[in-house]
């Protein structure tokens, strides 16, 4: 039994301009100890998808009828979307599921010390004394490579550097020993050198703690370093998923190919960058048919009318595209 099952997740937002579809019929699963990379441009719905795992989306979010998110803990199934009150939600908020945000500065409350915030979370979920919680917190800060952890424990977010804050954020997220960690662009706001350090740290911690991780990023390079499997999202649709190796070696959706071509190649700097033409459409103007056809270089007339279903391109490697499916003979 996998740790997390997301089935037919559809999520819309009620806004003044009408109902906007942010996530459209997305299904994936995650095993314990596995890292799933969730890739896509801004506006692709990856953060919204991740937030729905903790029911963190704003109140105007409407989950589609068949949507189901199941978290399996010690052979007990938790129907995430049916959780309602603050107390019920605690299991997916900081209990079995933790989240690391993109902006480490903004995710700490500025007027509460880092230690206080860590202790608050630990006493809430673990039912331990403040003193024990403080010990665990300092140990965790030390574990993520923060020097002088006991001193940092009493400091505030403003007093730490960017990389230090993200380490503290990771320490806080892992201190409750969650089964699932959601990392929403955890390295995007950091310098490249710090990025590499934080990624190394996360890889170590994945091995040590053995939880499942959903790693959200727009950077396929980061995914190649960290993830086991990758799911590519575009405009709320999951367009391709498979093992990192399969997807990078044999990208089967034109969007995935576009993302890979847009990466600079260090071995041949003369190769021109090949950005995907155009911008991601506004969710208010979702294209009919395949959502990607407005920017797709191989689009055909049928792509404007009907939505392609998934075709298999190998073990657990599937993509939703009419054209590549025919080219590779997988109809």
């Amino acid at each position: 039994m996998s740790l997390l099952n997301v089935n037919n997740l559809t999520l819309q937002f009620d806004t003044d301009e009408g109902r906007i579809t942010a996530v459209d019929d997305v299904s994936f699963e995650l095993n314990a100890g596995e890292v799933l990379g969730l890739v896509g441009e801004s506006g692709s719905g990856k953060s919204v998808t991740a937030k729905s795992l903790m029911k963190l989306n704003p109140d105007n979010a409407v989950y589609g009828e068949g949507s189901q998110i199941t978290l399996t803990l010690d052979n007990e199934n938790i129907d995430v979307l049916s959780l309602k009150s603050g107390n019920e939600l605690q299991v997916i908020r900081g209990g079995a599921v933790s989240m690391i945000f993109q902006e480490p500065m903004a995710s700490f409350a500025p007027a509460i010390s880092i230690g206080d915030q860590m202790v608050e979370q630990l006493t809430l979920h673990k039912g331990i004394s403040k003193r024990e919680a403080a010990e665990i917190s300092i140990e965790m800060l030390d574990r993520v490579g923060i020097s002088d952890a006991a001193k940092r424990f009493n400091q505030y977010a403003v007093e730490l550097s960017g990389g230090m804050r993200q380490r503290a954020m990771i320490a806080m997220a892992l201190s409750t020993r969650p089964s699932l960690l959601i990392a929403d662009e955890p390295t995007t706001a950091l310098d490249v050198t710090i990025q590499a350090q934080v990624i190394d740290l996360m890889k170590d911690l994945i091995k040590e703690f053995g939880m499942g991780i959903i790693f959200i990023t727009h950077d396929l390079g980061v995914i190649a370093q960290t993830a086991d499997r990758v799911a590519v999202m575009y405009l709320g649709k999951l367009v391709e998923q498979g093992t990192v190796r399969d997807v990078i070696k044999n990208p089967s959706h034109p969007y995935t190919r576009g993302l890979l071509n847009a990466l600079p190649k260090l071995d041949n700097l003369d190769t021109p960058l090949m950005p995907i033409p155009g911008d991601i459409p506004s969710p208010l103007e979702r294209p009919e048919g395949c959502v990607f056809h407005t920017r797709c270089s191989v689009a055909e007339p049928r792509c404007q009318q009907s939505v392609p279903s998934y075709s298999s391109f190998g073990d657990n490697h599937k993509a939703a595209c009419f054209v590549t499916a025919e080219q590779q003979g997988n109809v």
């Binding site: 903790m54 963190l56 109140d59 603050g86 107390n87 939600l89 605690q90 908020r93 900081g94 209990g95 933790s98 989240m99 945000f101 902006e103 903004a106 995710s107 700490f108 409350a109 500025p110 007027a111 509460i112 010390s113 915030q117 608050e120 979370q121 809430l124 979920h125 505030y156 403003v158 007093e159 806080m172």
Partner: protein, 336 residues
């Protein structure tokens, strides 16, 4: 802790220094008014039928010490105010200002502080509620009442309440004391009598202050609840009132506390209009009287100084409160 005491002491010294500067400005302003105390008093006498000569004025100036240089007069004025709490004699009335003001200033300050307290005690919880509630009815009615508070002039509100009270109860609710307590020394009964009347000016002054503060609190709260650290805290499982008070509310309070000193000044400025209608004897009206009508610079200076001193004191208290609440301010001011 030692750091904090050091910080408090430093702030106190700075407040004293501010007061000293204020006293210099106030004293200079008193000097800038054309004519001095001697001329003014004798001119006043003139209107009563006395014949005044230049020699009389010179003699009076010497008697009052007005022939001494500016700095020396300022020093002795400040010295008397700071060490003895004495403001000297009024120019026109020739009475001790302390005696003239007697309870008036403290009553005025008390009414203003009470209005300020009422305003914030209402505005903070209601503002927080209105920023976080999803009920459109609650939100719109709060907005309506608060716009009413902002738009309805104080004197009109006072008149409306007086009218209603006169028609219904036959009591116009004017004055601060009932007849039997007016000249009596302070006692518990007199205080209760005072309260039974003072609630009206407090309510009227607090009304618009509340509306104003409510808008501030609401806007600050709306700003805070949308911040990532609130989402991050709820992602850690913190929920309900614990989340609300410890995270956005606490962080929104800094600017709210900061606006206290400013609001006290605003309320004091509104007091004379309300006092005029409710026929209260208070310091604001006396200030206007001494500034605009009788040109009594000594009296006006004393009241202005007392008022600014109160604001400096309020700012001192809010600084300490801010430092207690926000480590960024604390560390910025004390040094990490």
């Amino acid at each position: 802790m030692a750091r904090f005491i050091q910080f408090t002491l430093m702030r106190a010294v700075m407040s004293l220094f501010t007061l000293l500067t204020v006293s210099l400005i106030v004293f200079s302003l008193m000097e800038l008014v054309p004519g001095n105390c001697a001329e003014r008093y004798l001119a006043f006498k003139n209107t009563q039928g006395s014949q005044i000569t230049i020699d009389d004025i010179k003699a009076e100036e010497r008697r009052l010490g007005l022939d001494q240089p500016f700095l020396q007069r300022w020093t002795s004025w400040v010295g008397n105010v700071f060490f003895k709490g004495e403001f000297g004699d009024s120019c026109i009335l020739r009475l001790d200002i302390n005696q003239l003001l007697s309870d008036k200033f403290w009553i005025s300050l008390g009414i203003c502080l009470a209005a300020l307290a009422v305003a914030y005690l209402i505005a903070i919880p209601v503002g927080i509620y209105s920023a976080t509630t999803k009920s459109a009815v609650a939100n719109n009615s709060l907005r309506f009442v608060s716009y009413l508070g902002l738009a309805l002039p104080n004197f009109l509100l006072a008149l409306i309440i007086m009218l209603i009270s006169t028609v219904l109860f036959g009591d116009s609710l004017t004055g601060l004391f009932s007849a039997e307590y007016r000249d009596a020394p302070w006692s518990l009964d007199k205080f209760l009598d005072f309260l039974s009347r003072a609630w009206l000016p407090i309510f009227i002054l607090g009304w618009s202050a509340t509306a104003f503060a409510l808008q501030t609190v609401r806007a600050l709260m709306l700003d805070e609840v949308g911040k990532l650290y609130v989402t991050a805290a709820s992602a850690r499982g913190i929920s309900g009132s614990k989340l609300l008070w410890r995270y956005p509310a606490r962080h929104a309070m800094g600017p709210v506390i900061n606006s206290l000193g400013f609001d006290l000044n605003r309320i004091f400025n509104e007091l004379p209009v309300v006092a005029l209608i409710l026929t209260l004897t208070e310091a604001g009206a006396l200030l206007i009287e001494s500034l605009a009508r009788s040109n009594d610079q000594q009296l006006a200076g004393a009241i202005i100084f007392l008022l600014t001193a109160s604001i400096v004191l309020v700012n001192f208290v809010t600084d300490i409160l801010l430092a207690l609440m926000d480590p960024r301010i604390r560390k910025g001011m004390i040094g990490a």
